[in-house]
Amino acid sequence: MSLPADILPLEVIDKTIDQPVWIILQSNREFTGKLVGFDDFVNVIIEDAKEWIVNEEHSELVMEHNGRMLLSGNNIVMLVPGGKKDV
């Protein structure tokens, strides 16, 4: 048996609750906002989400959602604590 890794992914996500997060989907769509909560499937609730479509060169803001938004974990590929950096 190997020792458990020091940093557990879900722990990292848990620590970003109430902080900005950047969520990357399988498609070229991304969301940024404040992480409100998540579950075991990493379905995610974010607040005041901004929706982006990303090309090679730049990412384009396509929508701003007020209030909370449930984002299905099905299509989530990556979560980046701290939010989107290049904007």
Partner: protein, 118 residues
């Protein structure tokens, strides 16, 4: 006699239940790949949807969710091909285990050929 039987029966039942439980207990599963070896090493991770990221493995769990640091993503170009030069830095990231397609260490591997848009 009948009293003894009555005494025994309740004792037997829990035993039977325990045996049944043991039967259904699956063999202990160890991870097929021990990621501890790659900890703090650069790894290349391919994801479903065709994304390719490289980063330093900082953590993981049983479901192969990963924690990467200094993550770099190789972006797809208009032809939907991953190019060598178009990258962006993501920093500290969590990658979902259920969309992970492949993971391999960077050390000891090199890019022989990578498709370009031409």
């Amino acid at each position: 006699m009948s009293e003894i039987k009555q005494d025994k029966q309740p004792k037997l039942q829990p035993q039977g239940q325990q045996q049944q439980k043991k039967k259904f207990e699956s063999p202990k599963r160890e991870a097929i790949l021990d990621l501890a070896k790659y900890k703090d090493c650069q790894v290349r991770v391919k994801l479903m949807g065709g994304r390719l990221v490289v980063g330093v493995l900082k953590g993981y769990d049983q479901l192969m969710n990963l924690v990467l640091d200094e993550t770099i993503e190789y972006m797809k170009d208009t032809n939907d091909e991953v190019s060598k030069d178009k990258t962006r830095s993501l920093g500290f990231t969590v990658i979902r285990g259920n969309i992970l397609a492949s993971i391999s260490p960077m050390e000891g591997s090199e890019i022989i050929y990578m498709q370009t848009s031409d």
